[in-house]
Amino acid sequence: MDHAPTRAMSAPAGTPVGLSQGSHTRGGVGESTLRPDGTLKVTGEFAYASDLWHEDMLWGCTLRSPHAHAEIRSIDVSEALAQPGVHAVLTYDDLPCEVRHYGLEIQDTPALAQGRVRYHGEPVALVAADHPETARRAAAKIRVDYAELPVVTDEASATAEDAPLLHPGREDHHAGHVPHPNIVHRQPIIRGDVAAARERADVIVTGEYEVGMQDQAFLGPESGLAVPAEDGGVDLYIATQWLHSDLRQIAPVLGLPEEKVRMTLSGVGGAFGGREDLSMQIHACLLALRTGRPVKMVYNRFESFFGHVHRHPAKLHYEHGATRDGKITHMACRIVLDGGAYASSSPAVVGNASSLSAGPYVIDNVDIEAIALYTNNPPCGAMRGFGAVQACFAYEAQMDRLAAELDMDPVEFRQLNAMSQGAVMPTGQEVDAPAPVAELLRRVKAMPMPPEKQWEAAGEAVDVRELPGGLSNTTHGEGVVRGVGYAVGIKNVGFSEGFDDYSTARVRLEVVGGEPVAVVHTAMAEVGQGGITVHAQIARTELGVARVIIDPADTRVGSAGSTSASRQTYVTGGAVKHTCEAVREKVLELGRARFGTYHPAWATAELLLEGGKVVTDGGEVLADLAEVLQDEAVDIEREWRHRPTVAFDRHTGQGDGHVQYSFAAHRAVVEVDTELGMVKVIELACAQDVGKAVNPLSVAGQIQGGTTQGLGLALMEEIVVDPETAKVRNPSFTDYLIPTILDTPSIPVDVLELADEHAPYGLRGVGEAPTLSSTPAVVAAIRQATGLALNRVPVRPEHLTGT
């Protein structure tokens, strides 16, 4: 493995960089330290948002639309309000001020439906009662008179001349640039000369691909507790991905200044993008402010499927050309993403899908177009992989087809066209950090193959658990064919297109009981990824202390940005590192003032904080931190920014729009019961470049978890929306399947650490890249086993049997 040296990377705000602590301090960067919340989580004492309790608390409940598109003629709440135990029923008319809409980028989402519902499950009314069942039953007694309207559900119906407009009169910043008002955003990218390149191509491959609507399916349901405060404000304890983004959207609808909405992160049971948008935040606050009582809202699984945005389903048209010697000449594609009824993060998903649509390949001539639609389908937004997942499924299928046309090995064909450091993206942006695409492919290909026919390995009897269909006992090996598939992907890290993607950290260093203690306070949402583990490691490395306390995330400290886009270890980790450096400088100033005259090294040597002491780079101890600090606490809050990005040009798509790129490759080995269409994934190996594994155990966990979500999209996960009515047909874990431990194979992981010199510790965001290539690798393996084209995911048994 190629280990780049760990050294201090340039920090943009001019703090000293020669003082990085390396990894001399135990429990620092690069070690697999254990989660600080681990004990609480295994004893059942960790307080998730749905576990919160308050004296006198009421339960909130949401009434949702049974129709995908309807006019609301009237709402009668009188019977609901008269139920014993009911304390409040709220509708649009009860919203307290003029601001009644919210949204991440475009404020098009009503806090409660106003005169019209645009998707199945849209919130219409709220109830607060003393028991959750009382609230549910009261909600069922609200009489809403709906007049159903025609629905638009795909590109043809949404962009028809007479199509009903989802948001007539929209005035957002994309509105003036789209070809139809039901198109949220359109991003073309033009580079080179596709027409000329097409003439040079010896083979041309075109394909139509489709990706179903995937759900984040985090296990901890949307939930929170709103407590009204004496000052007329509200304290909200909430499971979210980004406290300050929530705050910015909540406070105006409540008619409160932001300082009167105090938010604290409670335990978050997974997120994967699904908590980037608001769910019950405003609703719980409205009920709490109305009743003067604490209000808890907890979605059940059924409601959760309606309560958050999903991954955009997509239709993708691709054309690739290549010369006989295997070089790609050009790529043209059109990607249509269904954004559903409200914008959510659709514009940014369009930016990702278009800018990453060529994959990790050198393609000089491209003609790319991505759009997101407004339809009456469920709103779609952020999910792990964010626009890059859909494109990767399509371009990797194209790579296999091109290789087949050229009679080349699919891995060698990819390696021949793989980008490397210095390559230029379709946007014109240079990839100025390691891009070991060919090497990742080499590594997954070189891994040992799992043994054949493992169902026979046990001895005499067939072990059906090792076969497709498992304990359903559907085959004893008859009709079972093995297939192997490869894929590789590229994902951006961090928020792109000119977004001011900063984070804030507050670090306090003081002596408690004779021992130096660092307290790290950020607003970073720990959603399970292990950010708090990493923050403690960074503080130990930079401040040379053993004890680190992580304060709860809340809005008393500046924004940390979102726990998404694989960005938190990079950006909030960077903010913690940057602030620790400022604390260290202050500590050394104190030391110089107190002891500088006693030893010349205070002035001349490079000084480190290590093992609770100030030491020279030669290892000489100058002072204990306890002596330096005495009863003084060094307490600093700083913002930190990565390199700025710029918006993509609206016509050409050119621009240095992304912060960093990350790469992962997969090899899938599957066994298919070709008679029944059952697939068993035998192994799903992954190689990923992580720049620097700040916590190797957590890195492996991210790779294996992301890989498994990709497997889910390949084989089973899809929210099925009725094409006639736009109603969701499978809002439950009975009908929406996610991989179980029986569906999930062994996932060997090979981690490369090629430092990105622009990033803290050289690290690269880890969380999303493995979600991309997993899906196309599995489908490629099934294609090899069956010879079928399989242009749609998830692949279902009927797609394999033709029945």
């Binding site: 600080p36 296990l219 349901p221 997974g270 994967f272 399970g528 294996q704 890989t707 431990i741 996932i747």
Partner: protein, 190 residues
């Protein structure tokens, strides 16, 4: 109605229980035991897995009235249950003194604790099997039950025993590691 049953070795009563309430709701909202989780409330995810007279069940699918007079072990009582088993009381049904039962309710000192945990709990921490942790309580109860009846499970045995417990974060690899680790450590200790 009033429901009286034994939870983690201690007899408990809940009053004013509505007939439609699940065991999960009574544990979480009436007895102050929110460790059993509410991820689907329809018996598909296993996050609310508890032992009912020794058998692993989804607490969300058990009507509260059904547990009258019976024994329930939740994740909050898992460490004590494992201690009793190690002391030779394999079913965990040999009773717990009030003082003993209160021990599990004490707050752990910090993340470095360890001695008070069941082997499977410590193994989940050490192996990196915990991410968001929402599936963890149910998986721990199910995995502990597996190790109770099969101290040396094969990978296929582990997968089969845990197939009713969904995890969305880990991809299950570290969970397999944790169960193997707990089995190995317990085997060494015997």
């Amino acid at each position: 109605m009033r429901v009286t049953f034994t939870v983690n070795g201690r007899e408990q009563s809940a009053d004013d229980v509505w007939e439609g309430e699940s065991l999960l709701y009574v544990l979480r909202e009436r007895l102050g035991l929110p460790g059993s989780k509410n991820a689907c409330e329809q018996g598909e995810c296993g996050s609310c897995t508890v032992r009912l007279d020794g058998l692993p069940v989804c607490a969300c699918l058990v009507a509260a009235g059904q547990v009258e007079g019976r024994e329930v072990v939740t994740v909050e009582g898992l460490a004590e249950h494992a201690r009793e088993r190690a002391a030779g009381c394999a079913t965990g049904a040999c009773g717990t003194g009030l003082d003993e039962a209160r021990k599990w309710a004490a707050r752990p000192s910090d993340g470095a604790a360890g001695g008070d945990l069941a082997p499977i709990q410590q193994a989940f921490i050490d192996a990196g099997a915990v991410q968001c942790g929402f599936c963890t309580p149910g998986l721990l109860v199910a995995a502990d039950e597996l190790l109770e009846r099969n101290p040396e499970p094969s990978d296929a045995d582990i997968r089969e025993a845990l197939s009713g417990n969904l995890c969305r974060c880990t991809g299950y690899e570290k969970i397999l590691d944790a169960v193997r680790l707990a089995a190995a450590r317990t085997g060494e200790a015997v």
